[in-house]
């Protein structure tokens, strides 16, 4: 009787956890392992059916060709993709981590009015809350040169007509600006929420003492608030780097829907083909599953490395409570 009790005590937690583990294996572990494996194969539409019938079919070859192609210039378009990805990640990251810092200081500290600051905060959250396809619909309308408002607003702001593009989706520097803006609006609120929570948790005495000593509000922001936000800023930069590197859904939605569904050609023409979208399009519009997986493997490896760095940098407990301030 006693033994069974002890055994039961060991077994019960795993009974509760088994379903979770099964789903995690199905949706996470197996796909990651499979992506790593596929990166070393020549799987394409030609041998796909044979592969589905039998994972070890001789028609699928193990090869290093994909990685040779990626790292030794076998794909002439890849340097362009890399360049666009770097521009994309760095610019959106600047908005997500640093613009949102000024934003949250403005909303949570400069603006003392509660309802107004709540209203602004909710407004900034709208792009994040809105389903992606609706966000894409609204942008497609907004940038439309004939029906939309973007060009109208910009010429109201005094920008000469010649400088406005015929098509925000296709004309090159503009399309890339659009890509950064669209994702920046979504990302700004992430930093904003993390920082606002952190600013609110700064003991008011600290700020009052400085004010009594004759510091003005800019000095308080510069010398008290920003230094205390060091960890939240690190956290936002680290977290967003990874999610931006892998993000492509919004680009696919806006350029794909606006161009009538042919996302791959449009994204190439508009110069918004980021790394993750390139992998997606290689798989699902050119059916080169092996090569596409190899492109993804680069992201998987970078992702795992970054996650290990987070754990080292932040420690487990800090990751769980990202918005606390450490005085």
């Amino acid at each position: 009787m006693r033994i069974t009790r002890a055994v039961m005590k060991k077994i019960i937690p795993w009974l509760f956890l088994t379903p979770v583990i099964i789903f995690i294996i199905l949706s996470w572990v197996a796909p990651v392992a499979l992506t790593l494996y596929l990166g070393f194969t020549d799987l394409s539409i030609k041998n796909f059916l044979a592969f589905i019938r039998d994972f070890f079919t001789p028609e699928v070859h193990i090869t290093l060709e994909n990685f040779e192609k990626i790292f030794f210039g076998g794909d002439p378009y890849l340097p362009e993709v890399l360049k666009i990805t770097i521009i994309y990640v760095v610019s959106v990251l600047a908005i997500n981590a640093f613009y949102s810092l000024i934003l949250s200081i403005s909303i949570a500290y400069f603006l003392k009015h509660d309802y107004l600051s709540l209203f602004l905060r909710v407004s900034w959250l709208l792009p994040r809350i809105t389903p992606g396809v609706i966000y894409a619909l609204m942008w497609n309308w907004f940038i439309d040169p004939r029906y939309g408002m973007l060009n109208t607003l910009l010429s109201l702001a005094g920008i000469p007509k010649e400088m406005l593009p015929q098509s925000w989706l296709l004309d090159k520097p503009y399309s890339q600006i659009l890509m950064i803006m669209v994702n920046g609006y979504i990302g700004a609120s992430f930093g904003m929420i993390v920082y606002t929570a952190a600013i609110k948790s700064i003991p008011p005495d600290l700020i009052n003492a400085a004010l009594v000593d004759g510091a003005n509000e800019f000095q308080v922001a510069r010398h008290i608030i920003i230094p205390l936000l060091k960890w939240p800023i690190f956290f936002v930069v680290a977290w967003q780097t990874l999610s931006l590197l892998a993000s492509y859904e919004q680009i696919l939605l806006i350029w794909g829907a606006g161009g009538g569904g042919g996302y791959a050609g449009i994204a190439r023409a508009a110069g918004v083909m980021v790394w993750a979208l390139y992998s997606y399009s290689k798989a699902f519009s050119e059916y080169q599953y092996g090569y596409a997986s190899a492109i993804s493997v680069v992201l998987v490896v970078v992702g795992i490395a970054l996650i290990l760095i987070y754990f080292k940098l932040f420690g487990f407990s800090r990751l769980m409570a990202p918005s606390k301030v450490e005085v």
């Binding site: 979770v20 990651v32 589905i52 992606g132 408002m149 492509y248």
Partner: protein, 299 residues
């Protein structure tokens, strides 16, 4: 202060005034002006959907329900004509309810074990869940495509939707377990001790004492996973090729390309129709959801 000469007090006052002007200028430039496009877009969506024509994007000229005709009359998309929007709405609802049901059931079990039980590898498991939360799942689409194919859950109508539901639920489960674990952590141990001392079994304890106490948490993860299933785009867009099994986001995606320029009113109404659940849930339980959305992996 009084000993200061008058002109110095004056100049301090001007300085303070100048500073507060600069302060509000920063607020306006940084936090208000960039919002103008956002406000215009949302106003447009609402105005355009009820109006035959809008002026300057947001000023409606007249009122009409014609844009909402997809609710009762046929809707054409490419070569396919749907009798009305409801079959597609039902597909979307099936995925949303399926994801929500699976996520709630499984992550409540898992979250309880993580919060309350001692077992080897507990910390490791929690670390793993956090790592999954940071890992971007969107790059796994190719591998998931092959797994669904292998499991026979691809290209077979509702069976494909079932496969998508399972995968989507699996992608949501780590975060949902983490959230519900937080709610379990907040219940005082004493409540459980009392019941255990009184001879309650773990299972009964869980069902009749713990579960009612975490109902708000269950509400939160069920709404959250419902919404994320409802607006899931990539999985359906990538894996469903038969138009009869599209969901609303994929339908709207294809409609934008086709009706852009031709009928913005229809698109706006369709978009608003699709956003209704999001609006309802956010206006009723925003605090709960915001807390969760912060941890989201979007953008």
């Amino acid at each position: 202060m009084l000993s200061l000469p008058r002109y110095r007090i004056e100049s301090r006052k001007t300085k303070a005034l100048l500073r507060s002007i600069i302060k509000y200028l920063i607020v306006i430039v940084v936090a208000v002006i960039p919002l103008i496009p956002v406000w215009i877009m949302y106003l447009w969506l609402i105005m355009q959907s009820f109006s035959p024509k809008v002026n300057l994007g947001i000023i409606p000229l007249g009122f009409t329900l014609n844009n909402w005709r997809f609710l009762w009359s046929p809707l054409k998309m490419g070569l396919k004509t749907y009798p009305n929007i409801w079959p597609i709405t039902i597909n979307t609802l099936l995925i949303a309810l399926g994801v929500s049901g699976i996520v709630v059931l499984i992550s409540t079990l898992g979250g309880y074990a993580l919060s309350r039980m001692e077992f080897a590898g507990r910390t490791g498991m929690m670390k793993f869940i956090i790592a999954l939360h940071a890992f971007p799942s969107v790059i796994l689409l190719i591998a998931l495509f092959i797994i669904l194919n292998k499991l026979g859950l691809y290209g077979k109508g509702y069976v494909t939707l079932l496969g998508i539901t399972l995968v989507k639920a699996g992608l949501e489960i780590p975060m949902a377990s983490w959230i519900i674990k937080g709610f379990f952590d907040a219940i005082p141990w004493d409540v459980e001790w009392a019941a255990l001392v009184d001879g309650c079994t773990r299972w009964r304890l869980w069902r009749s004492i713990v579960l009612p106490l975490v109902l708000p948490g269950i509400g939160a993860i069920s709404i959250f996973s419902f919404l994320s299933g409802w607006s899931e785009f990539l999985l359906v867009f990538t894996y469903v090729k038969d138009e009869a099994y599209y969901t609303l986001p994929v339908l709207i995606y294809h409609m934008i390309g086709e009706y852009k320029m031709v009928d913005w009113g229809l698109l706006a109404a369709l978009g608003l129709f699709f956003t209704i659940p999001t609006i309802i849930f956010f206006s009723t339980s925003q605090k709960l959801l915001l807390r969760i959305y912060v941890g989201g992996v979007k953008g």
